[in-house]
């Protein structure tokens, strides 16, 4: 099977359209960023508190909002997140901003949110019993050892520790962290009726569970932002040096411009689709930088090889030929990489969502920028550097080739 045999498209001729497309995308992204008043920084760069809460059924948003306002957290934001397949089907994130560095403890916001949750959703409620859905393995082991439902006496410790682990594992892995009834624990290794009865008597079942919490102080946020920018700039500089060394400096510059363009478009898409920029997104961007460079290098490699073979042709023709020759490889690789990151986007879960989105957008844009942006830049540059003769005429063309072929 083969997709691309004997392709012979005039890429450089169409360069105008590619540039127009790029400018349009950049414009759209730019407008979106302008309207959102800047990039959407996630908590890593902004500071603040995010508490992700999971529910067994549809989350009681209004109740939550009331409860939060009662705790003085009226300016918190509640957002629903839905996830299918995993246990996150009814998740919610409660976000607090934090602007100044006060004397307040870092986790004051989180504690306030937890208090609001417990008051509103009444864990323990009327019975005042502790919540089985929030208990840790150690605490459960303690409680079981004390209550001793199996009558093992003081040597029961290790067995109860194992039993506690089995119970919490089942709760977390099989039931998404929230049990609605103790009967759901029927199949757990070691949980017979005596244990279940004891649990029923000692614990209540709260209606929520804390999935994860992220708290970042504002100074740290600013620090991480700076580091992210430095890392990206250094990486770009490093690659510029590497490519300028392997090819000619204008090739390096063209590649960097293309990669820069990729990052900007990706950021624009982030703004457009309301994704937040977190540390892992920066990781994705840096990976994209490397990936986009790859594509560009493959084309440049072939151009260099063809320059030696096709000495009489104008640069534009050589570049066209090179792109056509490597088209198969380019489409295949991008296609395969695209498939893998698309699978990651669809099946990778909430935590990786913004990372995989960046990769999905980046792979497409990065591939296209190699022949759409980087290659035309090289051709146009050489056109202006060389004399201005029509394409194909003798001496001037040779001068251009000599200039292009010089390494």
């Amino acid at each position: 099977m083969e997709f691309f045999r004997g392709v012979n498209l005039d890429w450089m001729g169409k360069a105008k359209f590619f540039v127009a497309l790029s400018l349009t995308l950049l414009l759209i992204g730019g407008i979106s960023i302008y309207r959102e008043k800047g990039l959407r920084y996630g908590i890593d760069f902004k500071g603040g508190t995010d508490v992700y809460v999971g529910f067994a059924g549809p989350p009681p948003i209004d109740q939550l909002r009331q409860g939060l306002t009662a705790q003085g957290l009226g300016d918190s934001q509640i957002q629903t997140i839905s996830e299918s397949g995993n246990s996150g089907a009814h998740d919610v994130v409660i976000a607090l901003e934090r602007t100044e560095e006060g004397d307040q403890a870092l986790d004051a916001g989180k504690q306030a949110i937890l208090t609001a949750l417990q008051k509103t959703l009444g864990t323990g409620g009327a019975s005042g019993l502790p919540d089985f859905n929030s208990i840790s393995t150690l605490a459960l082991a303690d409680s079981l050892t004390r209550k001793d439902p199996l009558g093992l006496g003081p040597v029961g410790g290790p067995r109860y520790t194992q039993l506690a682990k089995n119970l919490t594992d089942s709760r977390d892995k099989d039931h998404g962290g929230i049990l609605t009834s103790f009967d759901e624990l029927n199949n757990v290794d070691g949980a017979d009726t005596r244990v279940l009865t004891s649990l029923r008597d000692s614990f209540s079942l709260g209606s929520f569970t804390i999935r994860n919490v992220e708290i970042v102080g504002p100074k740290v946020g600013a620090q991480l932002r700076r580091q992210a920018i430095y890392a990206t700039l250094y990486a770009l500089a490093g690659m510029l040096v590497y490519i300028a060394f392997r090819f000619e400096w204008v090739y390096g510059a063209a590649a960097v411009v293309a990669v820069f363009h990729d990052v900007l478009i990706t950021l624009g898409f982030f703004s457009l689709f309301h994704y937040e920029i977190s540390l892992t997104v920066i990781a994705a961007l840096l990976t994209l930088v490397g990936y986009s460079m790859n594509d560009t290098i493959v084309i440049f490699d072939r151009v260099r090889e063809n320059l030696r073979l096709m000495r009489r042709e104008p640069l534009a023709v050589i570049v066209n030929r090179s792109i056509n020759q490597t088209l198969s490889r380019t489409i295949l690789t991008s296609g395969l990489t695209f498939i893998t990151v698309l699978v990651l986007f669809l099946m990778g879960g909430r935590v990786l969502r913004s990372f995989s989105f960046a990769m999905v957008v980046g792979v497409v844009v990065g591939t296209y920028s190699s022949f759409g942006i980087a290659a035309p830049i090289v051709v146009v540059w050489h056109k202006f550097r060389g004399e201005r003769p029509p394409a194909g005429s003798g001496s001037a063309a040779e001068k251009r080739l000599a200039a292009a072929g010089r390494r």
Binding site: E2, Y52, G85, N86, L106, D107, S136, T137, R171, D172, K173, G176, G177, I178, I210, R211, N212, V213, E214, I215, V216, G217, V220, Q227, A228, G238, R246, L279, T280, I282, A283, L286, T287, G290, Y291, M293, N294, I297, V298, D301, E305, Q325, T326, R329, L332, T333, L336, T337, F338, I339, T340, V341, V343, L344, M347, G348, G349, L352, F355, S356
Partner: protein, 541 residues
């Protein structure tokens, strides 16, 4: 098969065996699937985002230690000035690293300068600008650095001891490497770090001092006023909780006048243990015992002060001020409305030692166990999904050579996982994303080679020659593309922490392994296939 090929095969086989060993250990035969799975999950170290747990970044307030050193120097300089009978107007601390001595008697300036030069070598000094006969002492930068380093080292050690005493599984306590004064604490499995945070942050400074004045004051100002505006030498005012049942100030805080130098500090403790309270049933207390050296001071002290009160001061707050009823040599009790857990934690903190400066939390991230399990599930599903998609495509598009690529890809992943196990590297969720990316980007190398081979075959070359040229020409491009991605990953590793680092590590290892599998192993498989097939037949690619 020619001998070179044979050696290649042996080498590849050894690599596979090493990987299997790294992942599964040496199983006894017969072995079951669940044993293998167990071994495997023990050897791959999971990050917090997959296991659940807490990640804390805290900042040690080093300035306090520097300021403390400054204060102590002020005391010592004052003492020296008195001993040498040098008259002066005032000595005060300007900020953490500067001391100002004003109006030094002109006749004694020479003696003063000599004294400072000889006895306070850690300080630079110069005449203070704008002052008549005043001097400014500045702490040397090298000394500041040294105090900073010592403080950080001591803080790290103390926190380490406290965390270990809590008995949590595999905690990490280390410098973050991001700021000079930041410490990272990771507690796998701890979904709620509240208790650990309290234990880490507790100052833990214990001091036993004599109470100089039987009165307690409702504010610092009142205490000062009661002594005519100047406290008696060697004393200080320290706040504490109001202990009576009626009356007392609104905020429940009273001030005691204590001797400034404690007779015994936390460093003199030999042990500290919680126990049910004898005087207040239902509460707990902490009983401590003193070292022999301290006991030799404490005994005479208590004997000489029978009938007077002694204050037990914890982190600059008076816990209690019992009356000394008789001579005590080497034991004492800290009472104060403790629950069993808080008495436990206090004893733990006292045993581990006091922190040299206070701690502020900068970052706190906790992952609950249900999310951890979810993340593993999603990550594994995405990896298998992308692997299958890529494998199906390869076989369809490149036919038999596609199988070559699939084998190389699988070996790539096995080497990647085994390397993680061998290096003890942590697998995080972004790390799993790195595995998925390795699948996608790794195939690129094979594609580069195969496309080249196809080109050469189309141009009319023979099979063996086409394979040769294909690998040759593609080699440099493969190296180039790997280097650029490796450069990005290197920067990610340097700049990132935790999960992002995990991603960089898997990507780097994956790409390096890819160089091996796509160039060496693929080539070996081609060579083997070529020797077995008919020279004239078409290469299935």
């Amino acid at each position: 098969m020619n001998s070179q090929l044979k050696w290649k095969a042996v080498f590849i086989l050894i690599v596979i065996l090493l990987c299997a060993f790294g992942l599964f250990g040496l199983p006894d035969f017969p072995t079951s699937w669940s044993t293998l799975k167990n071994n495997w999950s023990q050897r791959i170290h999971l990050g917090l985002d997959l296991r659940g747990g807490s990640h804390l970044v805290l900042q040690v307030q080093v300035q306090e230690a520097i300021g403390l050193h400054c204060d102590q120097t002020v005391d010592r300089v004052t003492q020296q000035l008195h001993e040498k009978n040098i008259a002066f107007g005032e000595i005060r601390r300007v900020d953490d690293t500067h001391i100002l001595v004003r109006n030094v008697a002109v006749a004694e300036s020479g003696t003063f300068r000599d004294m400072v030069r000889d006895q306070f070598t850690e300080w630079d000094f110069a005449p203070a600008a704008g002052e008549n006969s005043g001097y400014l002492l500045t702490m040397k930068p090298s000394v500041v650095d040294e105090i900073q380093r010592e403080t950080m080292d001591q803080a790290l050690e103390t926190i380490n001891r406290r965390i270990n005493a809590l008995g949590l599984t595999e905690p990490t306590v280390a410098f973050t490497g991001r700021g000079k004064d930041e410490i990272l604490v990771e507690l796998p499995g701890e979904g709620d770090p509240t208790r650990a945070k309290a234990v880490i942050q507790a100052g833990g400074q214990l001091e036993l001092s004599r109470v100089e004045d039987d009165h307690t004051y409702s504010s610092e100002v009142e205490g000062l006023a009661a002594h005519g505006g100047v406290l008696p030498p060697g004393t200080e005012l320290v706040p504490g909780k109001f202990e009576g049942t009626t009356g007392g100030p609104a905020n429940g805080q009273v001030w005691y006048l204590l001797a400034r130098s404690p007779i015994v500090t936390g460093q003199d403790l030999r042990s500290a243990n919680p126990a049910p309270s004898q005087n207040y049933p239902g509460q707990y207390e902490v009983r401590f015992s003193l070292s022999t050296a301290a006991a030799s001071r404490f005994g005479p002290f208590t004997e000489a002060n029978i009938g007077r009160k002694m204050a037990i001061v914890l982190d600059h707050q008076v816990q209690s001020a019992p009356v000394i009823n008789g001579r005590i040599d080497d034991s004492g009790v800290i009472e104060g409305n403790f629950s069993q857990e808080s008495a436990n934690d206090l004893a733990l903190v006292l045993r581990a030692g006091a922190l040299p400066a206070s701690i502020k939390y900068l970052e706190e991230r906790t992952v609950g166990p249900s999310l951890g399990a979810d993340s593993i599930r999603s990550g594994v599903r995405a990896s298998i999904g992308s692997l299958i998609a890529v494998m199906i495509f390869l076989v369809f598009y490149y036919r038999l050579s596609g199988i070559n690529a699939v084998v190389a890809l699988l070996l790539n992943l096995i080497i990647l996982l085994a390397a993680l196990a061998y290096f003890g590297a942590t697998l995080t969720l972004p790390g799993i994303a790195g595995v998925v990316l390795t699948i996608g980007m790794g195939v690129d190398s094979n594609v580069l080679v195969f496309e080249r081979i196809r080109e050469e075959l189309r141009a009319g070359k023979a099979n063996a020659s086409a394979v040769d040229v294909g690998f040759d020409r593609a080699f440099l491009t493969i190296i180039d593309t790997h280097i650029t991605t490796l450069v990005s990953a290197a920067f990610l590793f340097l700049f990132g922490t935790g999960p992002v680092r995990g991603f960089a590590v898997t990507l780097v290892i994956g790409l390096l392994a890819n160089l091996f599998t796509s160039i060496y192993v693929s080539r070996a498989i081609f060579d083997w296939h070529l020797t077995r097939m008919d020279r004239q037949a078409a290469l299935s690619i």
